[in-house]
C-alpha cells in the first residue's frame, strides 16, 4: 500500500521544485505584472490625465487588482495544462502505472500548482503596493481568498482540458479559444457588467470575473458585485472544476 499523503506530498514537491528551478518563470512572474502596470495602467492614467474612471478611481488603481488575479490565472492555468507536456515527455506514464491512488497524486499536483500560483499572487500584490499608492492594506486577506480560489479553479480547468487533449497541437487552440477570452473578459481592463447583452452573459460565465471583482472590492471598494455573491460564485466554480479535473485524470490512460 502506498501512503496517499506521501504520494500527494511528493507531487506537490515536484511542482514547487520545478517552478523554483526554472529561473525564467520566476523572472517572468515578477516582470510581467510590472510591465502591465506601467505600460497599460500608468499609460492610460496619464493619457486620461489622472481623471477618475470606473467607480470614481484613477485607471491604475482600477486596473491593479485585476493584474494580481490575472497573473494568478495564467500561472495556474498553464501549470494545470502542463499535464500535456508530462504526457509528451513521458513523465505521466510513470504516474499512471504507479500504485499510488490517482486521487492522491492529482490532489498533490493541484496543491503544488495552487502553491506556486499563490506565490505568484503574493509577489504581484507586493509589487502593486509598492507602485500604486491608493490601495487598501486591510483588503489583503480578502485578496488572498480570491487568489486562492482563482488558483484552484484554473489549475482544475487546465488539468481537465489536458486530460482530454492528446498532444500539444490542441494547445494553441485552447490558448486562443479559452485562455484569451477568459483573459480579455475578466473585467480587469474595463467593467464587464456594462457590456451589451451577449458579451455580458458570457462574462458572467467566466470564473475569472469573480476573482477580479472580489479583489477589486477588497483593494479599492470599486467592485460591482456584492462580496457574498462573488465569493459564492468562486467557491461553486472551484468545486465544479476540481471534480471535473480529478475525474478526468482518474480515467486517463496512455492511449
Amino acid at each position: 500500500m502506498v501512503n496517499p499523503a506521501s504520494a500527494a506530498y511528493v507531487m506537490w514537491y515536484r511542482q514547487v521544485k520545478r517552478f523554483i528551478r526554472t529561473r525564467s518563470r520566476l523572472v517572468g512572474a515578477i516582470l510581467q505584472p510590472i510591465f502591465w502596470m506601467i505600460f497599460l495602467g500608468l499609460g492610460f492614467t496619464s493619457a486620461l490625465k489622472g481623471a477618475p474612471v470606473f467607480g470614481g478611481i484613477d485607471y491604475l488603481t482600477f486596473f491593479t487588482p485585476g493584474v494580481v488575479v490575472m497573473a494568478v490565472f495564467f500561472t495556474a492555468f498553464f501549470s494545470g495544462i502542463s499535464v500535456i507536456w508530462d504526457r509528451e515527455f513521458g513523465f505521466l506514464k510513470e504516474i499512471l502505472v504507479a500504485p499510488a491512488s490517482r486521487t492522491a497524486t492529482i490532489a498533490g499536483r493541484i496543491l503544488g500548482d495552487v502553491t506556486i500560483s499563490m506565490l505568484q499572487g503574493v509577489i504581484v500584490l507586493t509589487i502593486a503596493f509598492l507602485m500604486v499608492p491608493n490601495l487598501r492594506l486591510l483588503g489583503v486577506p480578502l485578496v488572498l481568498v480570491a487568489v486562492f480560489f482563482t488558483a484552484l479553479q484554473f489549475t482544475g480547468l487546465g488539468i481537465a482540458l489536458a486530460s482530454k487533449l492528446k498532444s500539444f497541437e490542441g494547445f494553441q487552440l485552447v490558448n486562443m479559444l479559452i485562455a484569451m477570452p477568459i483573459f480579455f473578459l475578466s473585467g480587469a481592463f474595463y467593467p464587464v457588467n456594462a457590456l451589451p447583452a451577449p458579451a455580458s452573459i458570457i462574462a458572467y460565465l467566466n470564473p475569472l470575473v469573480y476573482g477580479v471583482d472580489l479583489s477589486r472590492t477588497a483593494l479599492t471598494g470599486a467592485g460591482f458585485l456584492p462580496l457574498t455573491s462573488a465569493f459564492a460564485a468562486l467557491a461553486a466554480s472551484s468545486l465544479f472544476l476540481l471534480v471535473v479535473a480529478v475525474w478526468g485524470f482518474k480515467k486517463a490512460t496512455a492511449e
Binding site: A7, V10, Y13, G90, F91, K93, E94, P99
Partner: protein, 333 residues
C-alpha cells in the same frame, strides 16, 4: 509454481490495425523472457496492456496472479516498468527523480534514502545525483531510469528495449545489470528488443513477434535448432531478381535443403544439416543454370535466421537503420 505472467489471446486494435493479435504466452517465475520483433511488431503495446496502461480489446492478461483489467491496482503494486521512451523529469536532478518515484511507488520514507544511494551506486551515477537530468547523456538517462524501475523492488520487471540507441559498451553494461538482477535478486524479467544478439545472450525463452502475432516461442537454442544445424549464405554475381529466383527455385527443387529464402535480389539463404556437403551441390546447381556465384559463406543459425525463415524478411534491414537512427534521436531528445 504458477506462471507469473499469463497472456490468453490478448488483443489490442487501433481502428482497423490489430497491433496485438490474439497473443498467448506465459512467463515463468524467475526467468528472463524476451519479446523479439521488428519495429511496429506490437512489443510496446503488449507491455502497455500487461502494465495496465492500456485496456485490451479482448483476451486476458494476468500478472503476478492478478487480472490486469479487473485488478490493475494489485498489478501496479508488483511491477516495475522501464518504458521505451524517456519518462524522467528532465528539469529535476537524478536524486529528485528517484525520490519522487520512490514515494509514489510506496517505498517507506525511512528506507528510501538508503535505497536511492544503493541504486545510484549500482548504476554508477553517484557523482551525477545532484545534476539535472537534461544534462545527462542518453546512456546515463537510461541507467537512471533502470534505477527508478528497481527502486521499489518489484517482483517482475518489464523492460521495453532497455538498450535502444546505446553504444555497445553501455549495452553490455546494462546486460550485466539485468543478469545480476535475475540471479541475485530473483526478479523475473520481461524484456522486448529488436536486437537478436540481446535476445540470444540474455533470454531463457524468447517469443518472436511480427505484425502483432507470435510466430515462434522457445529457448534461443530450440528456435535455432528447428532451422537445421547450419545456414549457408549465397551471394550471386548479378543482382537480377529473375536470376536469383531461378537459382532459389532450383535449390528448392533438388530437395536437399530444408529451407531456401531469397533475402534480397542476389542473395539467398539456405539451411542445411551439413554445410561442407551442401556447398558443392550449390555450386553444381549454379553451373547447371549458368548463374555466377560471387561468394558463399556459412554460419551457425542465429535468431536473425530464424526470423528470416519464418517471415521471409530480415529483422533489421540495413536500409532501415538510417531511419531508425532518426527515430532514436527523436525519442531521446
Amino acid at each position: 509454481m504458477p506462471d507469473i505472467v499469463v497472456a490468453e489471446a490478448l488483443t489490442k486494435t487501433f481502428g482497423t490495425l490489430r497491433a496485438v493479435d490474439e497473443v498467448s504466452f506465459t512467463v515463468r517465475r524467475g526467468e528472463i523472457f524476451g519479446f523479439l520483433g521488428p519495429n511496429g511488431a506490437g512489443k510496446t503495446t503488449t507491455i502497455n496492456l500487461l502494465t495496465t496502461l492500456m485496456k485490451p480489446t479482448s483476451g486476458r492478461g494476468m500478472v503476478a496472479g492478478f487480472d490486469v483489467q479487473r485488478e490493475p491496482q494489485k498489478v501496479r503494486e508488483r511491477i516495475g516498468v522501464l518504458f521505451q521512451d524517456l519518462t524522467l523529469d528532465r528539469e529535476l536532478t537524478g536524486w529528485e527523480n528517484l525520490w519522487i518515484h520512490g514515494l509514489i511507488y510506496g517505498v517507506p520514507r525511512g528506507i528510501l534514502k538508503n535505497r536511492i544511494r544503493e541504486l545510484l551506486a549500482f548504476v554508477e551515477l553517484e557523482d551525477w545525483a545532484g545534476s539535472q537530468v537534461k544534462k545527462y547523456s542518453g546512456g546515463m538517462q537510461r541507467r537512471l531510469q533502470i534505477a527508478a524501475a528497481l527502486l521499489h523492488r518489484p517482483e517482475i520487471l518489464f523492460l521495453d528495449e532497455p538498450t535502444l540507441g546505446l553504444d555497445p559498451q553501455t549495452r553490455a553494461h546494462i546486460w550485466d545489470y539485468i543478469l545480476s538482477l535475475q540471479r541475485n535478486e530473483k526478479v523475473t524479467v520481461f524484456l522486448t528488443t529488436h536486437y537478436m544478439d540481446e535476445a540470444e545472450r540474455l533470454c531463457h525463452r524468447t517469443a518472436i513477434i511480427d505484425h502483432g502475432r507470435i510466430i515462434a516461442l522457445g529457448s534461443p537454442e530450440e528456435l535455432k535448432r528447428a532451422l537445421g544445424s547450419e545456414v549457408v549464405y549465397v551471394q550471386l554475381a548479378s543482382k537480377s531478381l529473375q536470376e536469383t529466383g531461378r537459382m532459389a527455385e532450383s535449390l528448392k527443387a533438388c530437395g536437399e535443403f530444408s529451407r531456401v529464402h531469397v533475402v534480397r535480389p542476389g542473395e539467398i539463404s539456405v539451411s542445411a544439416s551439413r554445410a561442407p556437403e551442401a556447398i558443392p551441390k550449390i555450386f553444381e546447381k549454379a553451373e547447371d543454370l549458368t548463374v555466377k556465384i560471387r561468394e558463399v559463406t556459412y554460419h551457425m543459425p542465429t535468431l536473425e535466421d530464424v526470423f528470416l525463415h519464418l517471415t521471409g524478411r530480415k529483422l533489421r534491414d540495413e536500409e532501415v537503420s538510417g531511419m531508425e537512427a532518426v527515430r532514436i534521436r527523436h525519442r531521446w531528445r
